[in-house]
Structure formats: C-alpha cells, structure tokens
Symmetry: C2
C-alpha cells in the first residue's frame, strides 16, 4: 500500500486549489475552481468538492486535510477572523469542514502555510530563525523564530507588508488604515508604479514605447522588460529592491534570522530585485547581524500555499 496522503487546499481570493499530497510532498492530483462571487455555503461546498476530488485520486489513505486561508485564524477554535477577500469572517471553518468531509481538518493563515512549507521542505530547512517575504500584489510574510512559527496573540502576526518604513508616507490601500508601509514601496504593484514614474525621464526606453503603445505598466511588464535589458525597467526594479532591502534591515535587526526568503510573483525579477536588497542590508543592518543572514528566493512558487496546507495537515495528523 502506498504511504498516507493528505489533501492540501490553497483557499485564494480568486481561485481554490486542492491537491493530494504524499509525505514526500509530491502532488498526485490537483483540482481547481474559481472562488469569485461565491456566498459562504457555496464556498464551503466547493471546497469540500475539490477535497473529495483530490482524495479520490490519492494513491494512499487520506489522513486529513489542511487549509490555508487568507485571513486571521483562531487556531484553537478553528474559526476565521478578519478575511478581506472571502466571505469567511466568523465562520467556524474547521468544524463545518470536518462535518462536510468526515476527515480531520487543520486550518491556518495562507502565509503561515507557505512559511511552513519553506521551513520544513524548502529554502528554510533546518533553521531555527527564518523570515519569508511574499512579494505579490501586496506583501505578505511568515516568521519562524526560535524554532516555532510566529502567530501572535490572536493569530494575526507577520503582516510584514505593513511595517512602517516612511513616517509621512502615503496611505495603504485596502483594509489597512496605516501609511508609509513597506507594501507601498516594495510590492509587485510598487514595481509597476516605479516603472510608470521612470517613463518621463526615459522617453526612448522600451518601457516608454510599450506604454505609448497602450500596454499597462504593471510589475509583470516592467520585470519582463528588465530581463530583456531595458535600463529604465532595471532602474525601477533596483529602486524597489532597495526599499525591500530597507524592510529587510528591520527584519534583520529585529529577528537576527539566519535566512530571509523572498517568494511571490515579485521574485520573477530574481536578482534584479534581490541584489539591491542585499546591498541595502549589507550597508545598513547591524554588522554582527548582517554577516549572519542570507537572502534567497523561496523554493516553492505558486504551489507554496497548497504544499504548506499539506505540511500543516501532516504535522497535525501524522503522529
């Protein structure tokens, strides 16, 4: 008989992704649905359906399911707190899902799941102190500190995109009432904004030509052109990488981690983004701390949430 499996589920604001995962973290079957426009009961039913679909295709017995949810999770009660992108606030998710599925269910924040996957199986294996920045539309994060995942007093810790890096900076977008936060300066959206700002000063750049031709100046476009060698796009990413590095200076001085991992869509820029961040840390973090930290890309890309939810389920149910 094949080894035990779990079902990992990445509960995203736009899509729901499940997979049957074995203890070596191989994914044997995936199921995917849109999460957009679903009311709470349909959302729960859809999640149950993609768990069942993955479970039927699993090569071994299924010992439980793990869910990574983009919200604040009260893990003792299994209840979802603030959850900006999905109608799950106040939902006793664990109990309702166990009732629907008839198997054990574990729930955590999606960024914590991604951190867990990297820590147990990815670019943070074996470390006691590691921090992960997920650079996407916004910036998320996860923290392992002294060999345990940092969750905070009510499950909401590690909002690393919402560190203040500019006292008089612009207001955050979405549900955060703050201003001058790292997310504004160093997210995927920030790459797009920095690119936009480069155009006037670089009218002959590939970036200016693409913009003149009507293309949206997004982080993805700027990254693509930077990889093709466009100087204006590279300058935009360098500026964002330096700001990302300033956020890392805070993380180095606060956590003294052995490693900082960078995941999310923004890591498509690779060392064009990470090298300026590394330089900022080398110049500005406390000397005895900066000499002991590596800044590396995360190992898992789009699968980090699914694999992390599966890792969570293995940790909770495989004993």
């Amino acid at each position: 008989m094949a080894g035990a499996c779990v079902i990992g589920v990445d509960v995203g604001g736009t899509k729901l992704l499940s997979g049957a995962v074995d203890s070596g973290l191989a994914v044997h079957h995936r199921a995917q649905r849109s999460s957009q426009g679903l009311a709470t009961p349909e959302l729960l039913d859809t999640l149950a359906a993609i768990v069942r679909e993955a479970a039927e295709a699993a090569p071994g017995p299924v010992i439980g399911a793990g869910f990574g949810i983009p919200g604040v999770i009260d893990r003792r009660a299994g209840v979802v707190g603030a959850c900006p992108h999905l109608p799950l606030e106040g939902v006793p998710f664990q109990a309702l899902m166990e009732e629907r599925l008839g198997i054990q269910v574990a729930v955590d924040n999606d960024a914590n799941c991604a951190m867990l996957a990297e820590w147990r199986h990815g670019a943070g294996v074996g470390l006691e102190d590691v921090v992960m920045l997920t650079v996407g539309t916004g910036i998320g994060g996860g923290i392992v500190c002294g060999g345990q995942l940092v969750r905070g007093s009510t499950g909401g810790a590690a909002e690393l995109g919402h560190m203040v890096v500019q006292l008089d900076g612009p207001p955050c977008q979405g549900q955060c009432p703050g201003r001058g936060h790292l997310e504004w300066y160093a997210s995927g959206n920030a790459i797009g904004r920095a690119g936009q700002a480069m155009i006037a000063g670089h009218p002959d750049s590939a970036l200016a030509r693409e913009a003149a031709a009507g293309r949206d100046v997004t982080g993805a476009l700027v990254t693509e052109l930077a990889h093709d060698g466009d100087a204006a796009s590279r300058a935009a990413i360098e500026q964002v990488g330096k700001a990302l590095g300033a956020g890392m200076v805070t993380l180095v001085n606060v956590f003294n981690p052995a490693r900082i991992l960078v995941g999310g869509g923004g890591i498509a820029a690779g060392d064009l983004l990470l090298d300026p961040a590394r330089r900022e840390v080398a110049e500005c973090a406390m000397p005895s701390l900066r000499d002991n930290v590596e800044i590396l890309p995360a190992r898992f890309g789009a699968d980090a949430g699914l694999l992390g939810a599966a890792t969570l389920a293995f940790e909770e149910f495989a004993r």
Copy 2:
C-alpha cells in the same frame, strides 16, 4: 533557613550593579562600582568582587549568579560577541566568571534580562506575546513571542531601536551603519532634539528661557518642563510619542502582541509620551490587531537589568 538566593548583576557601560535576590524578587543587598576605564581583567575582577559582596550579605544559600551584558551573547558557548560599551568582545565570560566565583553563572543580553523580569514578574506576567521598548539615550528592546524569549540565530535579536521608519532618514549614531531608524526619532535623545527644535517657534516658552539661561536642552529637561505644563515641551514630547507610536505600529503588525511595554528613562514622560503613541497605533495599526494590544509602562525602572539577571539565574539553576 531562608530560601535560596541568586546574585543578579547589571553590567552597564557606566556602572556595575549587583544584588542578592530571593525567589520573591526582593533585593537584600546591593553593591555598585564604576565600569569606566577598566580593562578586561580588572572588569572581570570587579564583577567578581561585587558578586562576592552581595553573596556574603545574602539571607540564604546562593545557587548561582546571572549577568545582563549590553552586547550580543552566544548563550550556548557563554561568550560575548559585539559589545560596544565594554571590553568584553570575544570574552568567554561564563567560564571565566565561574572560575573566579566557584558558582554557576548564566549570561544574557541586558535587554533580554529586562524583558525576562517584566515577563515573569512585572507588567507582562502570564502573556505569550509581549514586546518591550526601552526608551533611554537610545532605544533597546525585548520580545516574547509564543511564550519564548526571541534571541535570534546568533543572539542579537530585538534591536528595536534599529527598525527603519524613514527610508531617507538621518544616519544612526554609534555602531549602527543604518539610517532613518526609530532610535533617531523616538529615544530620550530625540526628546532633547525635538525640544531644541521647538525653541525658535516658542520664544516665550519656559523651554526657551531655560535654554537662554544656558541649560542643556536634554530629554530630561524637556520632560521636566512638560510635566510643569510648558506647551513647547509638551509639543516636543507629543511629536516623539507619535514617532514611537509608528514604531509600535510595526511591532503590532509584525508580532500581534497582547501588550507593548515601555521602560527606560524616557518613560519619565509618562502618558505625555504614551498617549500620542497609543493614538498612532489606534489610527494606523491593522484593525484586528490594534484592538487586542495594550500599551503600558514597564513595572521595573532602574532595577530591571539586575532583577532580570536574577530571574535568568533562577530559571537556569533553581530546578
């Protein structure tokens, strides 16, 4: 026979303070010496002498000594790393001190010791997630996260004065190569600087009069005048409190603590400093996190280091 005691030692850059401490954290005898100008062997001998002096006056058997040192401590090896204010860098402190004293010795960073005292016996008792800011000449800190003290991968964590709060801010003073750090905007020195900057715009203030009479505009003077009702001094402290609050926004969003404690000499300003910080957190931290955090003064003042070093010794040797 009286209960067991430990000797707690606060190893400061200007003075060395020891005390015989019982398990109820009462201090039975204190000994103090200057630490200025001492070379390494004299410093170690002086420390041994004040431990012996306190031990002789202890009301019960002495089971060990704890030392809080203002530097990076490798606790596994008992060796001091970077230590800007004392000639202890590279010194195998624990072994040398055990040899001198013939009793068990525990060593930790002084800010960690202060955090430990507050966590076990002070304003953070019973909490799993609590952060402490020590606002003095600079800003130090301690962090308890998930029920354990945060030390980092090489013992240098919790440099909370060195979080970046201004991307293009002024350079740090001393050994930190960074810029725009919280310490610049929110330390005791910052209160003095903010007071200095208020004078031109408030020529009739008590602060301006004291400055004209030749008094140094220090954080202590500004605080004294603010308590007496001087509007310019109050405005200076308010400005610093708001910046301190911005640092707390980062701490709330990163750690989701149940409580943030403020200690150090800066807390002499009391709610004149803490209220603007509380307002900044209420306005700018993530809503689900700010509603679950209290901002309070630390319980122990100048004794925090000594009591923390004693608490450390009890935790290590009283089992």
